[in-house]
Symmetry: C2
Subunit: 541 residues, 2 copies
């Protein structure tokens, strides 16, 4: 299916075929795709060259003209516009200029530059530059993207220059991706772009990919490659589920024993330099890195390097030698967490930390006589969800004191921990997640939806359609509630994923989630998506 010829189908699906500049093709989202007029004789020139049939995710608003411009790789430039508040000192833009130039003209294509274009091509006008204008005085060049960052951009491609306007650099990065998707190479090695105008912005502010580096260690290269793929799909959050029961690859500065003893091996870790590299590589692509340090459950690996942290389990009044979740009743636990999260808050610049809180198994707590006594003293009776909430609230307070916002898995909300109103609840349980979204937003909390997008659950065939069909706001609730859904995440848990299969397993399946979270709500046509996704996959490869 990869080898399919593209484009002609697109011609027949709704473009107005008048060869004039910027004749509107009508707004694409929601516009019915009817039968086209018969193509005029000169149509061969642009067959296979309909740009919007390879855009992914589809922009909010676009129009394109059949009129094409040529790009000469040796002359074409990506430049800062004179009126821009960003200049050559702006690292994210400088890096993106180099990167997108390479995507458009680099690799195997370079060989072909020697060839003379066909005469027909030579008659086309040339696009000489893409000028980038950053409009905000605070460009973002030297800071990190955050939940409130602007990713909107406006792109016009007309002779002789294309202009990309964005409020902040983050929008410019999205626009550069789109521009690179518009540029295509014809069969003769000419680089072409159709005159176009695009006005674009994300539907949801939080568009995440969860990677799990505990079940299997992921080499740095795999993580960085995934950040590239995320940028191709306009994702903006790497949810780094960095540690879990199975291993603790995060090398802590204060507590190096955690990875010394809890990692699979001494070289399967993320050093402080590795973490900095991931964060900076992500920043240059407009991607936030939200680390998850999941407690009190999912912490077996923590216990190896931090004695006394986990709850000793008992059987018939005797310690079994096994350990359960983090011990919520000792002050030493909170002393450790205070210091640990101080480090995490400083190492990870993002305004949010994910604190986990999912799947806490109460059986070990129930077995432990000290815990039982503590429960009595606190008046928790036998409601261990209260103990869990007691623990979580302590952790939330600690992390709040470092001025960090918090994400938590849905159980923390379900078990009625008293959450600060700016806590973000991540909904992951597949069963009846619409109802959970109603509850979470009904209580006034922001929500991130992950439940329908557990991409580690593989199945035969084109399951991307299942992910694509999800409508995140399809739940009972007021307009105010709907606004509290700030986005979603595609999760690739690591039980059966490592460097050998991560990329082909995640992409392009996650692209379906990417478009759902970026594009307009009414972009739902599966056949259209299939055509564009096929083309997008080729480009990603």
């Amino acid at each position: 299916a990869m080898g399919r010829a593209m484009g002609l189908a697109g011609l027949l699906l709704g473009l107005v075929l008048v060869p004039a500049v910027l004749v509107s093709t009508s707004l694409r989202p929601g516009a019915p795709r009817g039968e086209a007029e018969p193509a005029p004789a000169d149509w061969e020139l642009v067959a296979g060259a309909v740009p919007e049939d390879s855009l992914w995710p589809l922009p909010q608003w676009l129009r394109t003209s059949p009129r094409q411009l040529r790009l000469a790789p040796g002359r074409f430039q990506l430049v800062h516009s004179a009126g821009s508040s960003a200049g050559s000192g702006c690292a994210p833009l400088q890096d993106a200029f180099r990167r997108y130039y390479e995507y458009m003209f680099g690799h195997s294509r370079r060989r072909r530059w020697g060839r003379r274009p066909l005469a027909a091509r030579a008659e086309l006008s040339e696009l000489s530059e893409l000028q980038v204008v950053i409009e905000a005085p605070e460009t973002g060049c030297d800071s990190y993207p955050h939940l409130g960052s602007s990713e909107a951009y406006h792109l016009t491609v007309t002779e002789p220059v294309a202009i990309l306007k964005a409020y902040e650099v983050w929008g410019a990065l999205r626009g550069l991706e789109t521009f690179s998707q518009l540029v295509h190479e014809d069969d003769y090695g000419s680089f072409l772009v159709n005159e176009s105008e695009i006005n674009d912005f994300p539907r949801f502010a939080h568009r995440g990919i969860l990677l799990d580096t505990s079940r299997h260690y992921l080499p740095m290269k795999t993580i960085l490659t995934n950040l590239d793929a995320m940028a191709f799909n306009k994702f903006n959050v790497l949810h780094w589920h960095i540690v879990d029961d199975q291993s603790f690859p995060y090398q802590s500065i204060y507590f190096p024993e955690l990875s010394d003893k809890g990692a699979y091996s001494s070289n399967l870790i993320y050093s402080p330099a590795d973490v900095r590299l991931v964060i900076e590589y992500a920043r240059l692509r407009g991607i936030r890195v939200v680390p998850e340090f999941d407690t009190p459950g999912h912490t077996q690996s923590w216990g190896k390097g931090q004695k006394g942290l986990l709850t000793p389990c008992y059987n018939k009044g005797q310690p079994t030698g096994s350990f359960g979740p983090v011990n919520p009743i000792w002050n030493t636990t909170y002393d450790f967490m205070t210091k640990f999260f101080k480090e995490i808050s400083s190492v990870f610049p993002d305004a949010y930390i994910h604190l986990g809180g999912d799947e806490v198994d109460f059986s070990c707590w129930k077995s432990n006589p000290e815990v039982t006594e503590f429960m009595k003293k606190q008046g928790f009776d036998t409601d261990y969800a209260k103990l869990e909430s007691y623990y979580i609230q302590n952790i939330l307070d600690i992390v709040s004191s470092y001025n960090k916002g918090q994400l938590v898995w849905q159980e923390v909300f379900d078990h009625k921990a008293q959450l600060k109103l700016d806590t973000v609840v991540e909904v992951w349980m597949a069963n009846n997640y619409a109802n959970e979204l109603s509850s979470v937003t009904g209580a006034g909390f922001s929500a991130v939806l992950a439940a329908p997008w557990y991409l580690d659950y593989i199945s035969y065939g084109q399951d991307w359609k299942k992910y694509y069909r999800v409508e995140p706001l399809n739940f009972l609730g007021s307009e105010e509630q709907k606004k509290l859904v700030i986005g979603g995440e595609a999760c690739l848990w690591g039980e059966f994923v490592d460097a050998t299969n991560l990329t082909p397993r995640l992409w392009p399946r996650a692209s379906a989630v990417g478009e759902r979270l970026w594009s307009s709500r009414n972009v739902t046509n599966l056949e259209d998506a299939y055509e564009r996704l096929t083309s997008h996959r080729c480009r990603m490869l």
Copy 2:
């Protein structure tokens, strides 16, 4: 799970711990694995070094001793024994010596050779050579492996030399793989092997992997890498499903238009040189290449480069412009097939060609008035299975005239084509395949089982266990019938497979099939298999 420490678990699972030379550990297959004696104090030396816990597929008979020998990469040699009928002119062995030396000592390990071994290691005796003896006067060095080839070998590893005896080179290749699996590196970079004796042979003669290069083109590199993986798992047949409806990448010498017009593109083809390389690369690993040219269905791509070959479909008495299966009523069809299969018979040296014959859709034949008339004339009434059989029997006769044996998919048998008794029927339909095995072998035909091993059907979790649990002879039939099951195949159809995901999708899942087809029937312990497979996967990586 990849990072798991291996070995100690193995120590606790049934080895006799007396440190003497070749003290029997009892035959492994079927031997109950009880609790072991407490380890003597010197056990640290061999912890993590129990060779049989990483062997895959498990040999038919083995015993190992805790006594270890060292190998010095700078001195150790793989050599022809003085008494061998093969010598330095034997390409498969020479190539395998180089290859297995590299597997054992090569890659990242080379760096470590500078290190001095620990004193404890220095006390171990050295294994200086592996001597290979080929016993048959016809070694196989200059021929191709075939269904009747001997793959048996006998391996003894004792100070000062290891001896590998095999009747033909094909057995020696299997023994070299096993020897390389016995050699392991300890934590200090020393190469060690336990004194051992292994007597081994395959349970089934036909152990295949089906690759589909039509739904997606597979680059040469992917095919060759798969041949390496097949050798690691003692597979011996590449079933090359080379063309199908979607594309015709085989570049024919007589009919170059078939790929000129039927391939996805002019560079997504297998040239005669490519095909020769696949065949020779496979031969050097003891692997047969059985090409499949599936007709009369699955042939849409043939029609592009060979006008008049396919049946024109009709609607209301008019040709629709679409085509169905190969046209079985015209002499030109058989003229073409005679010439085509003459080429195929000469290009592919294997004694068998797979002729397909599956999933023939009768609707186009039914629509065609010429076909209807032909049916009447032949007295087929409206039984299109008879027309199918008429076609297939013509093809079988053509191919027989070139002295080639034939494999066919089960429908050819089901639809009662008159088959020569040496035809091999491949059973692929998942529904009630045991019954089909009874019928096929009951009629006196050989069978290859593929039905339970369609590895393109993916699902979440450890589905290798499902493939591993299959017992091919679990059907009603006499001993004679059971003997007619000559083997099986793991099939990776290409609808959702290409170079980006083939290797991690096929391996190590196909390894489960590899052990089922090679090892003794009673090798069925899943926990034991899990441990060995984990280790084997690491080694393959």
